[in-house]
């Protein structure tokens, strides 16, 4: 095959993978809904209505899109380094704690407090990720379990803060702290809940990561480290520093995600501040094939399903966790359809057009 022909075939195969997996996912969710005695079309309508049905709904979808995109774009960096940063959930919580601390303790002009909450969130998330990285590099602790342990620690600290030092005056309850002062909240667009500051930060983060991985020698070397730590070490790349840098960058983004979640959505500190957004971000990064350019659109879809699921509850009486079912089924279908595609190519004796395994790919 010529290069052009192979490229065309590869593009075709990729599109087919996308179409088939969306079809499989839709079919599976549809059948599931039918079993539950619901009309799938009505469910789809409710989802759309709940996420894009009005200006307010679109704004709410964007409010969820911001932290999902931030956490997922950070994960693209850690995945590129070949690391399974499952501790991202804890880094989101750590970021929220950092932002909450500033929001509660610092007084001053609103722009300054807001800026400081974002900085504190980034620092806290970055430090939490650095811990997982240090455990991985110096303690030879698998990053999955180090990260999970740290996530559980962060959850414990969050609960402690809410029932202990940050408890509401006179009430010891796990429901949350007092609301933050007005000036610490992310400024919103009129009556809508979406914050232009958060949107700008998110877009900047996506662009920065895209450029970092694609346009800098750091990104190139990081990809080399992700492909083979041993070869990169032999080539003279300081692998330890690169791994730690990847963790810190991922943690910074996850931290900001937690920060905007607490000051831009909850308006006070609650123990379940992340609510699984970190885990959801891992699904987004997987679905994006660890490519920065796909993160934002996929995160938008995930945000829409997450936000729209409230309508599923109102109109069809389905639990809002059904959003997670839709998202999980979609990612699983993509993985399986890719696997089938690759196996067919293997059987036909052709080199598979796209990477045969869903592993950390070198291209961005």
């Amino acid at each position: 095959m010529t290069v052009v022909a192979r490229k065309a075939a590869s593009g075709l195969a990729k599109n087919r993978v996308g179409l088939i997996s969306v079809g499989v996912a839709l079919g599976f969710t549809g059948v599931l809904l039918l079993i539950l005695g619901e009309n799938p079309l009505e469910a789809a309508d409710a989802l759309y209505d709940g996420s894009f049905g009005s200006t307010e709904k679109i704004a709410d979808t964007l409010v969820a899109w911001v932290p999902l995109t931030l956490a997922a774009i950070g994960l693209v960096v850690t995945f590129t380094a070949g690391m399974w940063n499952i501790g991202v959930e804890g880094q989101v919580i750590a970021g929220a704690i950092g932002a909450a601390f500033v929001a509660r303790e610092v007084s001053g002009p609103s722009w300054m407090v807001v800026a400081l909450t974002i900085v504190a969130a980034a620092v806290a998330g970055g430090l939490w990720a650095l811990l997982a990285g240090l455990l991985r590099v110096y303690g030879r602790v698998n990053e999955i379990f180090g990260g999970l342990g740290l996530t559980f620690v962060a959850e414990g600290i969050a609960i402690y803060l809410v029932i202990g030092p940050w408890s509401r005056t006179g009430v010891a309850s796990t429901s949350g702290t007092d609301p933050y002062p007005e000036g610490a909240l992310l400024p919103t667009l009129g009556d809508l809940r979406v914050s232009p500051v958060a949107l700008v930060v998110t877009v900047a983060a996506v662009v920065a990561v895209y450029y970092l991985l694609r346009g800098t020698s750091f990104g190139l070397r990081l990809r080399a480290v992700g492909q083979s730590m041993k070869s990169s070490h032999l080539l003279g790349i300081p692998t330890v520093r690169y791994l730690l840098a990847a963790f810190v960058i991922g943690g910074l983004m996850a931290g900001i995600a937690g920060g905007v979640r607490t000051t831009g959505f909850h308006g006070r500190f609650v123990p379940a501040v992340s609510g699984g957004f970190g885990y959801l971000a891992i699904l987004i990064a997987l679905l994006a094939g660890f490519k920065a350019k796909w993160v934002a659109p996929i995160a938008l879809f995930f945000a829409a399903v997450t936000v729209g699921s409230s309508q599923l509850q109102l109109r069809l009486g389905l639990d809002s966790a059904f959003a997670g079912v839709v998202q999980g089924v979609l990612v699983l279908s993509v993985l399986f359809v890719q696997g089938w595609q690759a196996r067919r190519s293997r059987r036909a004796g052709v080199q598979p057009p796209s990477a045969p395994e869903f592993h950390v790919e070198p291209e961005i």
Partner: protein, 313 residues
Amino acid sequence: MEETLHAIVRDASPLVFAVVGETLTERAGVVNLSLDGSILLSALAGFAVAFETGSLLLGFGAAAAVGMAVALLIAYASIQLRLNQIAVGFVLFQLCTSMANAFGNSYVGERVKGVPAQEIPGLADIPFIGRILFDQDLMVYASIIFIFVTYRFMFRSRHGLALQGVGERPEAAHARGIPVNRLRYLYTAVGGAFVGIAGAAWSLDVKLGWSDNRTGRFGWIALAIVIFGGWHPIRAAFGAYLFAGLQNWAIQLQDTFPNLTQVLGIMPFPVMILTLVLVYRDWLQRLTDRFPALRPVLGNEPPAAIGTTFQQE
């Protein structure tokens, strides 16, 4: 003391099923990372079926079937499709968790009759040990027997040798005529079934009932215990008892620090996982360096072919 140990043996029984089951799976070279989700979903399946049919046996059967189905998906993805086991396992964790929380609402607060206590006549009268080991219920006895049966099977039988070969050196096993991939399917499915039984052992026995995230985090703890139990059923089970002890201690501390109840509820999870991760391995390492004779018992090497695919040419 006697009562505490009695409670620990009881409370650890679901975790014992999970860690020993997953040890079987990983020994064959497959990692089932979905544990936290598949345990939760099987717990719901077991509870729901037992509630609808009134039969505990059917409940446990349904839970085992769910655990096995999830495990078979991972086996198919990794063996037939050569997908990344970690990726597929993680997605299944998320999917199963969501499914359990989405479909379990109508069972919140419902009651079923759990596994009845059943003391073993004669043995239960032995002082101290009798109360701890022989005055429990059937699932607890089953969990203890399961540990030793798995141990015997793994290290003292021909099938166990084949299992180890499949996980350590699949090429050599294949050359000896052992059907590598078929055995991987088998042990992933069997391990998954026990993971499912673990779920039902919570919702139908130790933590009777159903609520959202009822078994949350236990699956992750189980996965960590398997690793630091050195893929050895007895040591993994020991880890499960250690964790139950930690939880028991945390509950007792709640009387001393009543305003920290919620924090103490969660603390055993990070303490266990970070202890395993930070201390346990180094400590074992030093012990085996000092007494090399202990290495076969305390060795910590993962099955060499874990997480890889085997291609028959």
